[in-house]
């Protein structure tokens, strides 16, 4: 293929004609090649849904929707109810968001509105490093540093001050819902704060300047001009964080205690959907057990995909809105 010949004067080869290729055959082939891989991405996503749904079919046929509401998970008796795992996943993720969202928004506002310009890049890099540390390393840290600390200092203190709440009762074990929630929060902070920061920096400068010119303080400018504009994007950022928390596996598995029980106390051990997959899948006894685990995976997949779709639409909305500076 010599690059100097004009594609216009080159005669079409019989092969190209046969394949219905017009213009430069190299271009046509290349476009098809790149198009193939783009299509491949979509096909892959669809294939994931189909493959998991297929392997979940046996349990779905046996238990129907009762699978999600059943509270007993007993592989020996072939009884599979996923409620304790759903509960553990939801509660640990919500706990993580309660802890992580205020911090993440603080970080995002600090980095996009308040920090000295020279510090913004290095601090942003450090927050991203938080996301770069592998999950299993957080787990290791959780097992040997966080959980013992929770057991010896944090849980007794919480029990002493807030012990009248059912949330903070029961024996102090370190490993449990609280540890899981904290580890998840740590892993969610970089996601939420970097997306929020992106959203905030998409807010037109004229809005801030307008508020400041009217005599607003920095915070008032953020609260009255920046945050309302960025609201849907920020909600999207939180949802992306929730998606991350729901599917996070290793660190949570290592610290949450892995007991399929529903307890009102945050000190008690719990179990998440991702954790039970990690623990039982390779040792599953029989087809129904395997299929039950696959259904848990399928549910997790569907929920996170839906969350991501909604979150992306919300984040995209903030980014695409017309430039307020022109108004």
């Amino acid at each position: 293929m010599d690059g100097t010949a004009s594609p216009l004067i080159r005669a079409r080869s019989p092969v190209a004609r046969l394949l219905g290729i017009k213009g430069n055959p190299g271009d046509a082939l290349f476009d098809r090649l790149t198009g193939f891989f783009a299509l491949f991405l979509v096909v892959l996503l669809a294939a994931m849904a189909v493959a998991m749904a297929k392997s979940a079919m046996p349990t779905f046929r046996t238990f129907g929707f009762g699978f999600v509401t059943g509270a007993i998970w007993d592989p020996l008796r072939q009884t599979f109810g996923a409620l304790p795992f759903v509960y553990g996943t939801v509660v640990s993720s919500v706990l993580a968001l309660v802890l992580a969202v205020p911090v993440s928004l603080g970080v995002a506002i600090y980095l996009s509105e308040l920090a000295p310009l020279r510090l913004r890049q290095p601090l942003g890099f450090l927050v991203e490093l938080l996301a770069a540390v592998p999950s299993v390393v957080y787990g290791l840290w959780g097992v040997f540093v966080l959980a013992p600390w929770l057991r010896s200092s944090v849980e007794p203190a919480l029990a002493r001050t807030l012990g009248f709440l059912p949330l903070f009762q029961g024996p102090h074990q370190g490993f449990g819902m609280l540890a899981g929630g904290i580890v998840l929060a740590i892993m969610v902070v970089p996601t939420v704060s970097s997306v929020s920061r992106e959203v905030l920096s998409a807010v037109p400068h004229s809005l801030r300047e307008g508020a400041l010119a009217l005599g607003a303080t920095r915070w008032e400018a953020v609260r009255l001009a920046v945050l309302p504009y960025a609201r849907s994007g920020l909600v999207g950022a939180v949802l992306l964080g929730l998606g991350r928390a729901l599917g996070e596996t290793m660190a949570v598995t290592m610290v949450i205690g892995n007991r399929a029980e529903i307890s009102s106390s945050l000190f008690a051990p719990s179990y998440t959907m991702a954790s039970v997959l990690a623990n039982e899948f390779t040792e599953a006894t029989g087809e129904l057990h395997l299929s039950a685990l696959a259904e848990i995976g399928f549910l997790l997949f569907v929920v996170t995909v839906l969350l991501n779709v909604i979150a992306r639409l919300l984040v995209g909305k903030t980014r695409r809105e017309p430039d307020g500076g022109r108004a």
Binding site: A51, V107, V136, T217
Partner: protein
């Protein structure tokens, strides 16, 4: 009037202080993790850690040479597929991204990057492991490649869009075919940035544990043949951390130090490459 002004100023200062506090609070876990990984890991690093196989259960000593090699092999194989596929998909997005199909693919890629890694592992198990009837390094590499794919595609797209249109037009004006322009002018110009994106994706893939649990599985022996179960650093760290043996805990910390160092070096190198060539962040 004065009162109100003071109150507003007080609120302003309080919130700004709270934001700074949040910033510092977010960095506490990072510092703590790096501190403990270094402190507890450094003692476990020795020549035998890098060169020996794990000893039988109960004996102390031995190393993780097989897991180190396994991680390199898994990530290398994943790159072999994930990088070209991702870059080509990214090229397609940057050229045809405005079409309905392009927008759909971009959206799918974004959604795919949010799919839990354990679900990807499950998918590869259902498709690859059940058909080949064995855990294998190949299955693990495929899982990692799938995880890399959306990131690589989206970064490639974003960076190709930054290349000035004039450059493309100049090449086309000289009679260079479109595909050669894309590969040897546009992609080449964007190369440092694309490399950065790839390095970040590789860093992420090398730390992944969940998708390997039921694809590559684990192996306490040398595992150079990718059609057999293969050990990796993250899975070994997990197995050792939850074991009851003191000596394994020590080795898990050492392995974590190696893994974190690898990931950090890739991250720092990646930023360095970008900043030097592009002046971007």
């Amino acid at each position: 009037m004065r009162d109100r002004f003071f109150r507003r100023r007080l609120v302003d200062r309080t919130v700004r202080g709270a934001c700074l506090l949040a910033m510092l609070l977010a960095l506490v876990p990072l510092v703590s993790v790096l501190w403990f990984v270094t402190l507890r890991g450094i003692g476990g690093l020795s020549w035998s850690f890098f060169s020996e196989l794990p000893r039988p259960v109960g004996e102390t000593g031995g190393g993780m040479a097989n897991a180190l090699l396994g991680t390199l092999e898994l990530v290398g194989l994943a790159c072999l597929f994930g990088i070209p596929a991702g870059v080509l998909a990214g090229i397609h997005l940057s050229t045809f991204g405005h079409s309905r199909f392009g927008r759909f693919v971009r959206f799918a890629a974004d959604v795919m990057s949010g799919v839990p890694s354990i679900a990807v592992g499950l998918f590869v198990y259902a498709v690859v492991v059940t058909t080949s009837r064995s855990f294998s390094g190949f299955a693990g590499a495929i899982a990692l490649a799938i995880l890399m794919l959306p990131t690589v595609a989206r970064t490639t797209e974003e960076l190709l869009k930054l290349v000035p249109e004039a450059l493309r037009e100049a090449a086309l004006g000289l009679g260079v075919p479109k595909w050669r322009t894309t590969l040897f002018v546009v992609l080449r110009t964007a190369a440092p940035g694309v490399v950065t994106g790839i390095m970040l994706a590789v860093a992420r893939a090398s730390g992944e544990t969940a998708p390997l649990l039921f694809t590559a599985f684990n192996n306490r022996f040398w595992s150079t043949d990718p059609s057999e179960p293969m050990a990796s650093l993250p899975v070994t760290i997990y197995a050792y951390a939850v074991s009851p043996y003191e000596d394994w805990h020590r080795q898990a910390w050492a392995a974590a130090l190696v893994l974190v160092a690898l990931v950090l070096v890739l991250n720092v190198l990646a930023r360095f490459v970008v900043r030097r060539r592009w002046g971007l962040g």
